[in-house]
Symmetry: C2
């Protein structure tokens, strides 16, 4: 039996898009850290969200092995991509090498990260403010994407992070825009989920908006919708959302 | 807000049983290794099976990061336990610290491991014999079990491994016993899946037998049935299987 030649493919826009959807559309991932004391690589499960620039965010207990580990050694990787039914190796997944940074409660970014994380994981309100829980920002360094058998790609940090001049402005608009869309345009949100996420359900809500797309949630389900072109200015958000509705109706 | 006290619970038989079912009933897991060169802890997805003593077995490509890593440093951990629907942190999972050992093709254990792995993952026949693929035995050193919020346990290797004097004899009987059960007692296998695995499907087949239990598969589904008491002698296997049928009918 001869083995097929397997090489790393050239990273194209499809690979970048798949990578971003895997990271930004994840509810959880497997984190790999170096365990203090033993030096063993240690894998465990964490809930995940994202910062407005697409960097993964985790909320972890100070009693866990991974928190101790991240405080001793910033290096960690996160595996994203749920296997679902069928062959587990046929489903795409990505390993992101990251550097972990604990976000103190008085950090200027803390409240924004907390609000975005809670919007994605409402049950985390129960423990997010416990004194020994903390958010960590996991800044991507590089990644290995496996899109299925023989579809391996190497990605750089720039492939994964959002770099728009409108980032801070959009972050400022985010809470109001989410509240407005969910209250007054719930029909449009369901339309997005149907057209861009192939969902047949109703009851979707927006739980995150950034320059590169929308996060939609419905109970324990999460959908990431990536814009074709990221926002260059915060003022484009309104027309972008209207365009998405128009295109969805035409689908 | 006050945090509830969370401690490591005393390991009892329920915890050991849950740990074994998570490991032995897994089709895949997240492996954590130390990446050569960068020193980064690296998480990726692997298909898993077990040896007759319950040690996890993986089949990996020589082109993967994890294979390079395991050849450079034996230390690895495996995260088992699929999240399924609902809160990902409410589902039980276990991290097993292991030492990885490559099983050469001329190793006396190779053919047995290959047969057991292929029975569990029939599609792996397509690549199991490629020259750069190899089986690794992942011998458990210890484990951290998380049975859901606040249910943390520490387990030792002896909690996870099967230690029966009948191990070699049962391994010798395994291929014939599987073929006989699947050919002549398919109704009993479906009965096991219904009574002990709460399955309503038919078409289950036995894909593994060891001193501590049975592995049942049906398409891409896998069920682990643990015996209440492990076999002490290979001659007990026949009556054990008959007892399981009788108890299942009475359920």
């Amino acid at each position: 039996m001869k083995e097929p030649v397997k090489t790393i493919r050239d990273t194209d826009e499809d690979a970048r898009r798949l990578a971003r959807k895997l990271i930004r559309g994840a509810r959880f991932g497997a984190i790999s850290v170096i365990e203090p004391g033993t030096g063993f690589p240690f894998a465990s499960r964490v809930l995940t969200g994202t910062d407005v620039d697409g960097a993964p965010i985790i909320l972890v207990s100070g009693l866990s092995v991974h928190t101790d580990a991240l405080l001793a050694d910033q290096r960690a990787s996160l595996l994203f991509g749920e296997p679902g039914k069928g062959d587990p190796l046929a489903h795409p997944r990505i390993t992101v090498r990251t550097r972990a940074e604990r976000i103190a409660r008085d950090d200027p970014a803390h409240d924004r990260l907390r609000a975005r994380f809670i919007a994605r994981h409402p049950k985390a309100t129960l423990y997010a403010d416990f004194p020994d829980f903390a958010f960590f920002r996991m800044t991507p360094q590089s990644a290995s994407l496996n899109g299925g058998f023989g579809k391996a790609y190497v990605l750089e940090a720039a492939d994964l992070l959002i770099a728009s001049p409108a980032m801070a402005d959009v972050a400022g608009l985010e809470p109001g825009a989410i509240a407005h869309m969910n209250a007054d345009h719930a029909d449009a949100v369901d339309l997005y989920a149907g057209a861009y996420g192939r969902s047949r359900k109703t009851g979707w809500r927006i739980c995150g908006i950034d320059c590169a797309g929308l996060d939609l949630c419905n109970g324990d389900e999460l959908l990431r919708i990536e814009f074709a072109v990221p926002l260059g200015q915060a003022s484009e958000l309104r027309s972008k959302l209207a365009d998405l509705s128009r295109s969805a109706r035409e689908k």
